[in-house]
Chain length 364, copies 2
């Protein structure tokens, strides 16, 4: 493991789409939605412990989620936990991590990753990430891991590569032509049949000085806020500095702020199996263990009759689930909320919007 | 209040039809299913406290439910709590109470009532019961309170009176011709249009010596078990006596064992509004507070969208219920079980039968 290789885990998301299991006070990355025995964050941390030195893993999250990170990764050193006063999307988060790393190691090459992916094939993941780190450490490139698409999924981002039809056997690193966020299904079908598009994993690999240069070019309104940060680190004004930087900062994603504009975007084709489980619907889709009618129940005691295509989950796995007559439904039972609705993301969103009503904030 | 008037509340039922809220360890009569602030049993006790001297109210239940009665009626004297070792339906329960009362007062006239009715019009109830007690105290009759039927409900018992079409304005006590338990809807329609049938409330009024005589005539296999009971009461062998009587006793209802056979059955027409809430479906039907789409939610925080005809209840009223897309469903959420099924009694029964499976007994 190269001591120049780092990993930055972005764990500040507030994700309401796994409501009511995910809450503002306990977002998805801290949960074990897929019932694996570990939270998404913990899985992510352990995966990267195989790839970069443990001391080179940083976690960025918001202040109020800091204790959840400390609880789930007790071995994380305090100076590897970067706390944002406010969530400002991914670009400020990456700036914060980049300037912090550059102070430690001007030769740093970093993976930047969300904390809420499901990754299968850990070995392939490790090989892909190591290769992408090696590749990017010696070049002035912003590399994104691209995944071979298997269906026209409208919930993913798509990356078009230059040079025509992508040859999957080739596994060549390709220049990126365009980024497209969540197209509709029809457009996604066109993308896939063209052979020029891969899924955007949201995992980036780059030298810290490369991303700094492109952020300073395309996002000076963000990077100027971090001017002098290298001196503030570890000083009495550290907290005040970050508070000020974030309170003045715009909310902007690295995709929109840099990746869609830079000429240095490259795609590294990954081989591991990956899913961005963003919604109950997508969780339902990736669960392998369904009964013959396509139902998923998570409890130990289940009485099911005449159900199909339904996902029925209780936070309390000792609870008896006696369910009948549901077709394509989601049922999520937590200690203080019960969600029952058709298995479409829109419905869940309808409800979470309703939580702005007076008296309902406690369920956010 | 006449000191000769008594009330016997039968509170031994195991009712699984309000499952999963009712359990073997906490049957319906101990619950506040209709959310009134008091259990069915407590309501029954308080109603009869207005009609007979408080010391003249007896509660009969099974051993294992004794503490629930003590908890809900702390003012009940211990010798007014009759504990059956086993549930043996209503005839042995009534025999037990009858012989106990006769030892105290040979001139006793008693109301025998289930503990799980919903009664509206408390004043009418009081007048009706007082009148029925007066009427029965001076005659050798077995009086049943009959209710004017308002619909051909197949879940009720029907009583046919002698003398043709019943005149509701008359309010005459009538001789009973036949008893019919839960006819199908078509037959219930014929009953109602004939004008000769009333609903059987299951509330009986009679002199203790009258019911004793008819039980001894039609149920000697039951009454012989209580021979000598008057001497055992209060003696060291009291418990052993009852244990032996019940272990030898058949299971039989007073309707089948006596009322359908006796020539002394009379119907007292009651005026109070009454419902025998035996199932979730019947509870749904009697709840007045429905939203415009016919839904009933019991929680403080509800997000409802595109539901109709559904009953959604959580034992935890602070729980948020976010429900969408249900049509004619029942949702019952308790601490350790979640029932979701179409709003028909059969479904609930299907599930409770399933609780005989190994590993599921805890949810009975």
């Amino acid at each position: 493991m190269s001591s120049n290789f780092y990993c930055v885990i972005m764990a500040g998301g507030i994700g309401t789409r796994f409501w009511p299991m995910s809450r503002a006070s306990r977002p998805k990355q801290f949960l074990d939605i897929a019932d694996t025995g570990k939270s998404f964050l913990r899985h992510t941390y352990e995966r990267f412990s195989q790839i970069v030195p443990q001391d080179n893993i940083l976690v960025v999250t918001t202040d109020r989620l800091g204790n959840l990170v400390r609880e789930q990764i007790p071995e994380l050193k305090e100076n590897n936990l970067l706390l944002e006063p406010y969530g400002r999307d991914t670009a400020p988060c990456i700036a914060y991590a980049t300037y912090t790393l550059l102070k430690r190691n001007p030769d740093a090459t970093m993976v930047v990753t969300p904390a809420d992916h499901i990754i299968r094939d850990n070995d392939a993941f490790k090989e892909d990430l190591q290769a992408a780190l090696e590749y990017s450490s010696t070049r002035d490139v912003l590399t994104t891991l691209g995944m071979m698409p298997t269906r026209p999924d409208p919930n993913y981002g798509y990356i078009q590569v230059s040079g025509g039809r992508y040859n999957a056997d080739d596994r060549k690193v390709m220049k990126v032509k365009t980024f497209t966020e969540k197209p509709d299904v029809e457009l996604a079908k066109v993308f896939i049949s063209s052979g020029e598009f891969l899924w955007n994993s949201g995992i980036f690999v780059w030298r810290a000085d490369s991303i700094r240069a492109e952020m300073e070019r395309y996002l000076p309104e963000v990077t100027r806020l971090f001017r002098g940060w290298e001196n503030a680190i570890g000083s009495p004004v550290e907290d005040m500095f970050i508070e000020k930087a974030y309170s003045d900062c715009i909310k902007i994603s690295i995709d929109y702020g840099v990746m869609e504009k830079t000429a240095k975007a490259w795609l590294y084709p990954a081989r591991f199996r990956w899913a961005d489980v963003g919604t109950w619907e997508s969780l339902y889709n990736i669960v392998n263990v369904k009964d013959k009618d396509g139902n998923v129940f998570n409890a130990k005691h289940v009485l099911s009759k005449d159900n199909s295509g339904s996902l029925v989950i209780s936070e309390n796995k000792d609870k008896l689930l006696a369910v009948s007559g549901l077709e394509d439904f989601i049922v999520i039972d937590t200690e203080d909320a019960l969600l029952i609705c058709p298995r479409s993301d829109k419905r869940v969103k309808d409800f979470t919007s309703g939580l702005a009503m007076p008296g309902y904030e406690q369920f956010k």
